[in-house]
Subunit: 133 residues, 3 copies
C-alpha cells in the first residue's frame, strides 16, 4: 500500500545498503501502520551529483519520501518518520544531519492496488480477506 | 494541469506501451476531471531492477502517482484511480496485482501553470478563456 | 526543510541553468517561507525525451514539484509558486507556457530532518536554536 521513494546521489548507497534500507523501511512501516510487509514498495532514485543541491550548493542528502493512506493517527506517523530516519542513518552511515524523511498522504479512496480501492486505516483485514476469496 | 509519474523497472514497458498508457491516462483524466487533454502531463521514470523493492525483495511493480487540483468530488477521484489502474494493466499486460495508482492533491492556488495560478475545479472554462485573450 | 524536484527532458537544462535555478528556488523559498537557505533541497530529475508526454504527445515541460510544511498561509504559498514559476522561466529560457509549479504539503510532524521532527511554520527559530545546543 505505501510507496517510499529514496532519492540519493548516484553511488552513495552500495547495493547491500539499499537492500538493508528497503528491508528496514518495510519492517518499520508494516509494524507501525499495520500493513503486511508484502505490500510495501520502496524505490531508490539515484541522481548524478551535479543534479542535487542543498542550500543552492552541491549536496549529498538522503531524501526519503513516503506515501501512506490518510487517517493514521498523527502520533503514529511521527513515530514512523522518526524510526525510518533513524534506520536510514544507521544502515547507510550517512550522518542524520543529511537524512530527511517526509510522509505524505491522501485518502485511501484515492488509491487503487490490485484492481481494488484501498481500505481505510483499520480496515486492512477485511480488504485482505476479500482479496483472497 | 495534472502531473502523472509512472515508475517502473527499466525495460519493463516498451515504447508503444508507454505511448498507449500516456494516451489512456490523458484521455481518462480529461474525461473524469474536465481538463483539456493538452494540459495532462505524463512522465515515465524507469529505474534499474536493483532499485525497486516490494516487500523488501526485488519487485517489478508499476507505480502511478498522479497530482490533481484539490476539490474534485471524492467519488470522481476514486473513479479516476480505478480507471487508470484498469487501463495500465490492460495496456501494459502487467497483472493488476502489480499495478498501484495513487492520486495526491493540493489546492489549485498552490499551483502555477503558464504563469498563472490554476483555477479551482469547475472554473476551468473561465481560466482557459482568460488565457486566450 | 523543503524538497523541490524539477523534472525535465534530458539535456534541456545546461549545468549553469541548473545552478541558477537551484539558487533562485533556494532564495525564494527562504524568503517567502522563513527557512534558512541551507535547509532547502533541490533535485533535478532528467528524463529521456521519449518518457515525457504532454497531451499524450512528446513534450518538453519543466515540472517543479515542491514539498513544504503545512500551515503556511495560502497567500504565501501562492506567492511562492508564482515566484518560482517566474524564476524558472527567466533562468531557463523555457517559455512560461511550458513551466508548471506545484506545492504539496503535509504536517511538519510527519517529517524528520537531522533526526528531529520538523517545527510548525513560525517555530523555526526555536527548532534551529535547539539544534545548535
Amino acid at each position: 500500500m505505501p510507496i517510499y521513494t529514496c532519492t540519493c546521489v548516484q553511488g552513495s548507497l552500495p547495493s547491500d545498503v539499499k537492500d538493508g534500507l528497503a528491508a528496514e523501511i518495510t519492517r518499520i512501516h508494516a509494524d507501525v501502520n499495520g500493513v503486511p510487509p508484502d505490500y510495501v514498495n520502496v524505490v531508490f532514485t539515484e541522481t548524478p551529483q551535479e543534479n542535487v543541491y542543498v542550500g543552492g550548493r552541491p549536496g549529498t542528502p538522503l531524501l526519503i519520501n513516503g506515501w501512506a493512506r490518510r487517517g493514521h493517527p498523527q502520533d503514529s506517523t511521527t513515530r514512523l518518520a522518526l524510526a525510518i530516519a533513524e534506520a536510514a542513518s544507521r544502515v547507510s552511515g550517512i550522518p542524520r544531519e543529511h537524512v530527511m524523511v517526509v510522509i505524505l498522504d491522501s485518502p485511501a479512496r484515492s488509491a487503487v492496488e490490485a484492481g481494488r480501492v484501498l481500505p481505510d486505516p483499520g480496515q486492512e483485514a477485511e480488504w485482505l480477506a476479500a482479496g483472497r476469496s
